[in-house]
Amino acid sequence: MTAVVSFARVRAVKTGRAQPIATVRHVHLSPRPLVLVPLALAGEANAPLAAMVGTHPDDDRLLVVPQPRNRDLRFTFVADLADAVLPYVHSYCYDIEHVRGRDRFTGAPQVLVPNAAGVRFLALLGRSTRFRRTDGDYPVAPNVPLLGRWLTFLAERAETPGSAALLALTDALALHWASGQSPVEDQNLAAVLGWIDPPEGLSGADAARAAEDPSVWPPAGPTTDPGFDADVLVPAIRAYDRAVETAGPVAQRRARTAIEEVLRGQLEPTWRLMWRGLDLLRALPPGASVADRWAADRAAFTGFREHVVGGGPPQGRRDGAVASARRLNRLERQLDEYEAARAFDDPLVLAAHRVTGAAFAGTVVTVDRDRRVENANGTPVNRPLVTVATADPVHLGPGTEVVAVSRRNQTGTVQCVGSIVDKTHVTLELRGGMGRARVPPPGTVPDVGERLCYTSVLAGNVPAPPLPDTERTPWTHGGPPVPYEPPTEDGT
């Protein structure tokens, strides 16, 4: 957390309402997202129990596993889930745009889950289904491994900084509001929404406390409330087992409906919260770089779709040495770009850098517009000097490159930093954005009195180390990775 976020949390405690820590929306929101609230059986590695899924608040679909220990029922559930998710994914595979010689879908699926644990659950569900065989001794429906591959794609995308393909709503909300509680407690969706948008007559703190009562607001999953498990779910599942053993189809259906009803009761409050949280986020104007990041999501979606259609294999169990290094490098670069873009989009994000001294806002006090120096080739070039007076603490050494938020095509190099009375004066040498004329055209160099905000948090060049081909992985890193052959008896 940054000092600004911490300060906002303190203010939230004092005011009893969550405080904004963003002035624009930093995530893309699809006009038709797929909201998915999963529930899992406690204690098992990845046994789905129920899910509520849909693209509209009034059009929810409830899927349940009446006996989560039964493998066939589990895979029936996964196949049903695939029936809900795959048509949604495929609905974005029609409109194509051409960008720099490549095709890209104009839309992409966006899946929203309540919290980070929901993302992990989907990742595991993807892992447990994408290697399943549709033939042999334990066949599954053909859409099961396909769903597994798409869930894995989404879960991997979710690790990419700034991606909006699979979002945990609590994380998305925490990016825009600071509540008056700790990040641990912020994982509770009902509590976070209580802080941001408390009901009439209630403070955020009171609403959040009330939201912690599992009998009023069931946990947003995937784990269910242990009390609910003991008092409601255990008897309901036992009744279902008894009906399967001894009773006819009518009684079985009745037992199944009973389970569906209790699970609906656990899921519905969260379902409504999901759409409420979504509305709160939609009310914020999107940041300038959001569309670019969504374009990257769409490109990744297009690429993966081509991979699947082209008969590519499912994602491996884990990356090999070379693929890991490449992925890590890519993630570092994306994180850098994301951090820089967010600060440019949003003065409140930039505020955090101003506090640490990596950015500063101030007023231009002197300008040396006509300064020319010889470059390395001996050609004289325009290098105006401007001095900015700021009240912010500046921790930038000479030679640091900075860019002004309002003048993105011009780079300043810090010449010297000194303090005069209670202000800090930063002198910058400007480069770029002035055209080729002998004298910079009017408006291309800041004027005295202009208010500017310079930041040194820029999308730097994360160097890509030279890496061998995958099949030439050195023995020090385990040699070339061996493709994974799933055991045929897996899942018995």
Binding site: M1, T2, A3, V4, V5, S6, F7, A8, R9, V10, R11, V13, K14, P20, T23, V24, L41, A42, G43, E44, A45, N46, L124, R127, S128, G180, Q181, S182, P183, V184, E185, E212, P214, T223, T224, P226, G227, D229, A230, L233, V234, P285, R317, R318, D346, P347, L348, L350, A351, R354, V355, A361, A391, D392, P393, D490, G491, T492
Partner: protein, 393 residues
Amino acid sequence: MDARLARLRGPVAPKRHNARTIAALTGNPGCARRAVLDAAGVDKEALARGVGFPARFGQSPFAIARGNAFEAMVKADGCAELLRLLRGVLGDDLTAARYTDLDPADGAEDPDLRHAESRTALTAAGAEAALYDHPLLRLRLAGRDVYLEPDLVALRHHGRYHVVEVKSFPVIDGRADPAKVAAAAIQAAVYVLALRDLLGRPEAVSHEIVLVCPENFSNRPVAVTVDVRRQLTVLAHQIGRLVRVESILADLPDGLSLDLRADATGTPTRPAAELAAALAAIGARYTPGCLSACELGFFCRSESGSSTAALGVSVREDLGGVETVDEALALAEATCTAGADRAEVADLLRTVARVYAEATAEAAGTAEATAEAAGTAEATAEAVGTAEATGTA
């Protein structure tokens, strides 16, 4: 001191420590309240209910059933499956190892006696491979001996003991939930420490523990070794740092009691407010981590009010170590004067407050400007519309 602790607890049987409570204690070693309550063997769960803030971390019956079934499977037939797994980890064939369960069936035996029995069994001569289940261990904690009811198997192999822990969280593709592995490792480290204490020779217990978990999505067990040297160092350090219970007790009012005054049916009759007041006499150090580690977490949170540490581990650090919300805001708004030692912190907070206000105002300004621009555009559109309408007319 024992009498004092007994008075604090009231006329009920003390709760025994387990590795989980010790691991949690080291998670927040500065908490005097927890140290005293654990030393006195107070039933914290009942106490939390008594003060009106029941703990919310129960285990689901599904999780318990699954854990028990997995452990039973691993330990079935004299730990046949476990020995097969251990062979894979430790290399040698251990299938001939003898299995001894040190837990008497009634479970009511005197702990001193059971501890002595465990010591006799574990120190008995012999170097052949052997398994000992449920030994009763003892650890000196905050100046007091506590007994541990560990759920562990001690494996003797080449004259050295290995701690074997059976856990039911899955290892998927060689990876497990890091938080669960960390918790298991610190628990195992407690066992290693206590076992070393029991045997009197640190080298007799290996720092490599064996963790047995289900593999992937199946019930098949898999064994891995975990090096707990780091956890051992942390534990030894934290246990050494634990405030001695005597010194905490010395500062408490005489006659302080947390007795719930259960009636004949076991229903507590003591008013919550009175109990809370008694509890408040023992200082606590609440952090958000307590909510998932300590039964009294919710009570301490309600009590912590406007402490900055209650907002997250880093919030207090971010705000220069200021302890309360009010103080942080007062310094930020310069409504209180900061002493010389606080000048730097006050500076930081004022900068944060100013920058935050500027950024919010700037955004509001932009939004207004945009709204205005939109308004103008609308007006223009309307004007054009009117003109067109007139033209058509």
